[in-house]
Amino acid sequence: MPRPRNNLAFLIIAKALIETLFVVSLVLSFHYRAFNTRFSGRITEVNGRKVTGWVFDEGAPSKPIEVQLYLNDQFVASRIADHQRRDSVNTGDAVEDAHEFEFDLSSKPVGEYEARVYVVQESGGGARRTLQTLHDPVRFRVGAK
């Protein structure tokens, strides 16, 4: 095979390898930024009237955090957890700079519910929004008022 052809074959192979490595690095970088679990938090109270809890971002402790409530896998509401946790000093799992959130459930009809709270993480300059589970799902009942 003439030398220029060999060089072309080499270029094609090198290009394939570079593009493969490039895609792998894109995927790894994407996964790290979109799914990096740096949030901690807890649902502290669930009853027929409200869902409350706190959330903390280890990467940006003072930054307000968006949380979303889903009841029975249906989106209910979104809140910005942006105020200081009131009882952080009194509880064993205290985290300074944790932010409280509260969802009002007073308009919910009677029934059994499963509540899930997710933290919204933005990445890619706002191009992507991923949801991370904050806590195990909590089951509760809304009774007759």
Binding site: L8, I12, I18, E19, V23
Partner: protein
């Protein structure tokens, strides 16, 4: 000119034993575009990050095309960067383009409304036309100046190589159904004309006009802003 065309034919048949390499060249170019459309778009952010990440597959594709051109001994004139056959190429394009325009206007009347379906910044015909010529030239350079010439090395001039070009062009516009069909038809026409009269400027002009007609007649709800790859969703 006949001598040059003949030389071009000879250059294409210089190394019949390395057809696999020519096929790899086509696949390599396609892979760069696929990486840009299906990996860079979903896995990067916006703005500078997207531009920076998108540069790698584009640069790789151009490195391949330029080096391959050198290896195959192709001149720019053979590739289609020339003016002497511009009007001849346009004449070949004229009637199919008129027929396509009539079809698009008919579809435009049948579909909900006749309007520009692209985002506001692209709504002026002049902007679409100028943008379209540059973008059209780039696409035709890759498609005809590279893929078509290598398809001819594999299958010779004629239906099979024209079909390869159209299929590659359509594949790279998936999963947008309207654009896939439109680019398949356009790919057939442009590949056929290029094989008879290689002139990338005439093809870029035709590409631009047909793009303008497409977005002027088919509603954006169907065209999805001409988005392709992951960006379509």
């Amino acid at each position: 000119m006949k001598g040059e065309d003949a030389r071009s034919e000879v250059a294409m048949k210089n190394y019949p034993s390395s057809k696999w390499l020519v096929a790899c060249e086509i696949m390599s170019l396609v892979s760069s575009v696929v990486v840009a459309e299906w990996a860079v778009m979903p896995f990067t952010g916006r703005g500078a990050e997207l531009m920076f990440a998108g540069m790698l597959p584009v640069a790789a594709a151009f490195a391949l095309m330029l080096f391959s051109r050198k290896v195959h001994g192709e001149t720019w004139r053979e590739v289609g960067i020339r003016f002497d056959n511009f009007w001849r190429a346009l004449r070949l394009l004229l009637i199919p383009m008129l027929l396509a325009a009539l079809l698009l206007f008919a579809l435009g009347l049948l579909l909900p409304k006749l309007e520009y379906g692209v985002p506001r910044v692209r709504k002026t015909p002049a902007w679409i036309f100028v943008w379209g010529i540059g973008w059209g030239f780039l696409q035709q350079f890759m498609l005809q100046g590279f893929v078509n010439r290598r398809a001819q090395m594999l299958f010779g001039k004629g239906f099979r190589s024209v079909l390869v070009v159209a299929l590659v062009f359509a594949l790279l516009h998936m999963p947008n159904p309207w654009l896939t069909v439109a680019t398949f038809c356009g790919g057939l026409l442009w590949a056929f004309v290029y094989q008879r009269t290689p002139n990338l400027f005439a093809l870029a002009l035709s590409h631009s006009l047909m793009t303008w007609l497409l977005i002027a007649t088919i509603p954006d709800a169907l065209l999805h802003g001409l988005r392709v790859g992951y960006n379509y969703f």
